[in-house]
């Protein structure tokens, strides 16, 4: 399949090469359309957010108040910190101008005059790459005042995070852009009413924005026919773990997970047997090897299989994997990254981690398996943001699907010598 998000064209990250291949033509086209026409085009294309929630992008944009009388903002989420996710980094490196073009179209369609691209702090090198592209685009008149001679003006600023996973949550991201700690906000009010500095704000993922120029250039009909009907388009799948060729692969949605492992990622490392797959980043529910048969990389198929597409960061594990150690490590992550605002998450993630450490050491107790489930169930749905759910799901699914692994780590009851 032809590549649309990460085309294999040498030098595509430079403005010259990007323009030679039709770059910024979607922006020019957008400027001849009305904002409503653009949002309508997006709605019909069925583009769904690539940050994990799969929310329809056109619908999200339509929530913004119309007109130019009120200041509005766009925040672009490039915080990608979910373990197993490493796709946006490729966009910053290999296709930054398509991202910028998407941001500009978004700003035009929603009447926004300032966009903030939030990038995780660890990506220092990639922030410089994107900054270079932004500077070039400013110099050519694509960003700034009266873009391409039109009445439309907007600015794009990069904002560097500093190592907090929670800032990938949209309202925490906004607090971080405002110069505070990354604490999620209670919703409602939703960002489209009350976002950055109390103004209407839309937050979109980096990969989502990179899809936008495609839809304008080639039309919604073309886009909606790529991949799975209800979740169409090209998608970046990151594959890591026990495979021969870990990497980021651009595929149409709806590709089978087995095909991703066997064909794209070159099969299992050392020819070992598959044991389990985490399909969409560490917060998505783990699947047993036999559960991925016939399941494809799109929202509906993975939902039906008992997991979710998340950020399409697949972690593949072979038969030798100690799943208890894996789940303990995942729980340590959420324990570390909990912002501490909500009691169920602040205390619960610690409980999960400590209980799982006990199992990892072979000191588990049979009743602890149910206790783990109980703690996870009491975190899920009881917190301001989705980090609580993200901490609970992997534990719940691991117990449901690999209970035997826990039972093996239960400490035998010592009989008292009489």
């Amino acid at each position: 399949m032809e590549k649309y998000i990460l085309p294999e064209i040498p030098g595509y990250h430079t403005l010259n090469v990007y323009e030679e291949h039709g770059g910024y033509s979607a922006l020019k086209k957008a400027l001849t359309m009305t904002p409503d026409q653009i949002i309508d085009e997006l709605k019909k294309s069925n583009l769904r957010g690539r940050g994990g929630a799969c929310f329809p992008t056109g619908l999200k944009w339509s929530f913004m108040p119309k007109g130019n009388t009120v200041t509005k903002y766009l925040a672009v989420n490039g915080d990608e910190s979910e373990p197993g996710t490493f796709k946006d980094r490729r966009i910053f490196e290999f296709n930054p101008h398509q991202l910028i073009e998407g941001i500009l179209i978004g700003c035009y369609a929603m009447g926004i005059t300032a966009a903030y691209v939030y990038i995780r702090g660890e990506y220092g090198k990639w922030i410089h790459m994107l900054q270079k592209a932004v500077d070039d685009a400013y110099a050519k008149g694509y960003i700034g005042e009266s873009i391409l001679g039109s009445a439309f003006s907007t600015n794009i600023y990069l904002h560097r995070g500093a190592g907090a996973y929670i800032c990938g949550e949209e309202s925490a991201l906004m607090n971080s852009v405002e110069g505070g700690r990354g604490l999620p906000r209670v919703k409602p009010p939703f960002p489209a009413q009350n976002g950055l500095w109390g103004k209407p704000t839309t937050i979109n993922n980096v990969e989502t924005m990179t899809n936008v120029p495609l839809i304008l250039n080639k039309g919604w009909e073309w886009y909606s026919k790529i991949g799975a009907a209800k979740h169409p388009g090209p998608i970046l799948v990151g594959i890591s773990g026990h495979v021969n060729k870990p990497g980021v692969y651009e595929v149409p949605t709806g590709v089978l997970l087995t095909e991703l492992i066997d064909t794209y990622a070159g099969g299992m490392l050392d020819g070992k047997k598959l044991k389990a797959v985490i399909p969409g980043g560490s917060s998505t529910m783990i699947l047993r090897a036999e559960q991925i048969e016939g399941v494809s990389m799109d929202a509906d198929s993975l939902k039906a299989a008992g997991s979710s597409v998340g950020t399409a960061g697949m972690i593949v594990m072979n038969e030798d994997t100690d799943l208890i150690r894996i789940i303990a490590r995942i729980s340590k992550f959420y324990y570390h990254e909990s912002c501490g605002q909500c009691t169920p998450c602040r205390e619960g993630t610690g409980w999960l981690f400590k209980l799982l450490k006990r199992f990892e050491a072979g000191d588990g107790r049979m009743e602890d398996i149910d206790l783990l489930m109980d703690v996870a169930n009491n975190i899920e749905g009881n917190t301001i943001c989705a980090l609580g759910d993200a901490a609970a799901w992997p534990v719940q699914s691991m117990i449901k699907r690999f209970r035997d692994e826990f039972e093996k780590r239960v400490k035998p009851i010592e009989t008292l010598a009489v």
Partner: protein
């Protein structure tokens, strides 16, 4: 602004102060420039001292308590000086599956420091970190902004030798 550059050892250089002022214009409020200002301060000094936090608070119109809260919330801001090289080892799932244990061991063998410690010569500070978004290059480490991916203990030893 009553604090002027160059009358306090820890304040920003003239250049950096101008950078912060330019960044302030990106946002409707000066407070929003706090994270970029902390990055600039950390690049200048290697870490962020209490005096620097007070200075930046005054510069951007927020309390010292707010700055301290922000510095301690984000793991990448250092409120203590650390070694010349900061080695961050990813031990999250993808790296764990591909042998991050051997990377932790190798770093310890070469520098004498475990995660959370600084080597005796003050050259290396070692940390265990969460996923850094390089899962296809697992196992990996970062030293400053530089990523070293697809590591083996041998490759890592050579990299550390070039730094020593």
């Amino acid at each position: 602004m009553f604090l002027q550059p160059n009358n306090n050892l820890y304040m920003l250089s003239q250049d950096n102060l101008q950078k912060v002022e330019a960044i302030c214009r990106h946002y409707p409020e000066r407070k929003a420039a706090l994270l970029p200002a902390l990055w600039i301060a950390q690049e200048q000094e290697g870490w962020i001292s209490t005096d620097m936090m007070r200075y930046l608070g005054t510069l951007l119109g927020v309390s010292y308590a707010h700055v301290l809260g922000v510095v301690t919330f984000y793991t990448m801001f250092q409120d203590k000086p650390h070694g010349k090289y900061h080695i961050e080892i990813c031990t999250n799932v993808s790296c764990l599956l591909r042998g991050s244990d051997s990377i932790v061991d190798t770093v310890r063998k070469c520098t004498g420091a475990k995660p959370g410690q600084t080597s005796a010569d003050g050259k290396f500070t070692v940390s265990e970190t969460e996923c850094m978004g390089a899962c296809s290059g697992a196992p990996m480490i970062a030293i400053g902004d530089e990523y070293y991916e697809h590591l083996t203990p041998q490759k890592l030893e050579e990299i550390l030798k070039t730094l020593a």
